[in-house]
Amino acid sequence: MAEEFVHLAVAGTEGQDLEINMGPQHPSTHGVMRFVVKLKGEVVESVQPHCGYIHRGIEKMCESLSYPQIIHLTDRMDYLSAHINNEAVCLAVEKALNIEVSDRIKYIRTIIAELNRIASHLLWWSSMCMDMGAVTPYFYAFRDREKILDIFEETTGGRLLYSYNCPGGLMNDIHPNFQKRVKEFIPYFRKSFKEYDELVTGNVIFQNRTMGIGLLTREQAIAYGVTGPAGRGSGFACDVRKRAPYSAYDKVQFNEILYNEGDSFARYKVRMDEMLESLKIIEQLIDNIPEGSYVEKMKAVIKLPEGEYFQQVETARGELVVHIISDGNKTPYRVKFRSPCLSTLSVMDLISRNQKIADLIAIGGSLDLVIPDIDR
């Protein structure tokens, strides 16, 4: 028996790579995603993503649904920034119909989108820390995210998937408590944000794990279409809120967070700073929500004029583009969602080569992939 093992273990395996499947059932893939990782010892030789485990054919489904009905499908793409996805379709439809929504709708949409962004970044923060082996931050972030979800639940009725937008406005008016609760949340979050920095950002282990890991240059980020915080961590000024403002973003002052290092830590810092920046946006808007109707008058059956319509929005993960091709019917002819995560995924192999397997997880965490967004 002993010889058999020697034979198995050594003969003919010199220089062979260890091929490992990470996923579909793996603690750190955040969904059903499979990476085939080739390893030399601990060092990653190549990463091959295999997606499609939860592909639902949203684009195909859209072709048989009317425009208001599409919206609730977009919730399920990047479910962490569901409101922003909703907004994208609504803005596209409004643009096609040449409807200018009132400021009230714009303000509410923007506030909720920014709250949604904070909630999404909080979830990212917690799961990235968990990927790196720190479990406690997970619970702190979820505790604070819960407050945002409560605000959402009170106003929209949903905690994760809101379906709060409809073409021409919103489903409901904001709840009377909305402003009060949001104003309570801002100082509370600022306080716990300090704790996050103490617990994780300043931590020497965390910094050593992320600094200089997963380097992505600006040119690569542009070529691979890496947008959102991951792109801005490489110095790629890709924020749609600045580049092509929509909703109320042209009315508020905020900075586009840019870091030039391009490593995991830069991506981490971009998101952390973005949360504070979102708070600033909310602070500017929350007291100034104008009075008015929460929904514009729309026809009962919405038919877009024939043509092609694009709408870009900045979700928590990057640039989401909705491309609607209409043939004049009440259902779209073709809908394409350009999801940010698909492009982000494509750099996975590039930036995790020659890193250790533990870095692969950290890089995956810092890219913040949401698998349903890839497998639409």
Binding site: L18, G133, V135, I205, F206, R209, K356, I357, I361
Partner: protein
């Protein structure tokens, strides 16, 4: 020197005498051994069960949640329920696994932790194994555990296990040095390696106070290195839940997994008991120089309580490490050992030797 109020030496000797008077020497020895075995088995299991519960509660409180609270009062019997569940689970045999080694691994791990557990001095006279090379013995036996982990990981024929085992091999082997050197530092101060004597020497003050700076450095190094040696976070690379799913024990199920789990917790207990013994006077009450009244009051608290308090405080610190820090990467882990801890502890040995030579200790 103050008299020790609770001394179990006499009691144990009288039991020994009774046995030896009523039967032949051989039978008396066998009977005594059997009693020792049973008692230790029970304590081992109880502490193990309690530690799992304690860890869950500690991490729950840190993480702003309640932790187990369904089975028994405040969830106290949760681990017993878990144990029963693990006992009733099927033991899955992995295809292509090396059956002999696969089954041997839990034995090695448990034997290593049980033997070190035997050396823990609970109170004066209440110590199973009190060799004159006690400190050395603990080091030697505890490093046996890595063999179990390596075997378990390798024989599973799973890639995650293999990486986990390899990591733990490199890791434990490296941190062994720092543990050894920081113990050497303290041995210079004590002049003996027998645990019971080390405690006796601390009756007028714990070594952490007596040895001041070098003892403090040594304590810090010892805490870091021993956390790494028992494979606990942030040094839990061998398990690395987010990378390797469960590391070396990925393929173990049911009771065999439970043994790996148990040994991990018991190693934590042994390590903190060792630190408590060497640095904080083991079961010795807190005595401050010439404050007679204070020392007498302290003496009334039973030594077992002292010992348990100290080792649980240390275990709390080790748990706090795990639930605060992100995991290190393998190269950082080795860098920390070889470029920071080892040079510092080498320096610390010299410092302690110098302090002892100049008689600067108290």
């Amino acid at each position: 020197m103050q008299g020790v109020l609770y001394d179990f030496t006499g009691l144990i000797q009288s039991i020994d005498a009774v046995f030896r008077a009523s039967m032949s020497d051989l039978w008396a020895t066998v009977l005594e051994y059997a009693i020792i075995g049973i008692i230790y088995l029970v304590i081992y299991a109880l502490i193990g069960l309690f530690l799992v519960y304690a860890e869950r509660k500690v991490c729950a409180f840190i993480q702003v949640r309640l932790g187990p609270n369904r089975v028994g009062p405040k969830g106290f019997f949760q681990t017993i329920a878990d144990f029963i569940k693990l006992l009733l689970k099927e033991n899955i045999k992995i295809k292509n696994a090396d059956g002999v080694l696969f089954n041997l691994a839990p034995f090695i791990v448990i034997v290593a932790s049980f033997l070190t557990f035997g050396t823990v001095p609970f109170a004066k006279g209440l110590q199973g194994i009190d060799l004159n090379i006690g400190v050395f013995f603990i080091m030697a036996v505890s490093s046996m555990g890595v063999v179990g982990i390596l075997l378990g990981g390798w024989s599973s024929n799973s890639k995650y296990s293999l990486i986990g085992a390899m990591r733990s091999g490199a890791q434990i082997v490296s941190y062994e040095l720092s543990v050894g050197l920081s113990l050497v530092t303290m041995v210079i101060l004590t002049g003996t390696m027998q645990l019971s004597q080390i405690i006796e020497l601390q009756s007028d003050g714990w070594f952490i106070f007596k040895g001041h700076i070098p003892a403090l450095i040594s304590l810090i190094i010892m805490m870091i290195a021993s956390t790494a040696e028992i494979n606990r976070g942030p040094f839990d690379l061998a398990e690395a839940e987010s990378e390797l799913t469960a590391g070396y024990h990925t393929e173990y199920s049911g009771i065999k997994f439970a043994f790996f789990y148990l040994s991990e917790y018991m190693n934590m207990f042994v390590v903190s008991a060792l630190v408590a013994t060497v640095f904080f006077g083991g079961w010795m009450p807190l005595h401050i120089g010439s404050w007679q009244a204070f020392n007498h009051i302290m003496d009334f608290i039973p030594p077992i309580i002292w010992f348990i308090l100290k080792s649980f405080a240390l275990m709390y610190v080790i748990m706090l490490f795990k639930w605060t820090f992100p995991r290190l990467r393998i190269d950082q882990l080795l860098k920390l050992e070889w470029q920071y801890l080892l040079p510092i502890s080498l320096f610390n040995v010299l410092l302690m030797a110098f302090v002892v030579y100049m008689k600067w200790y108290f």
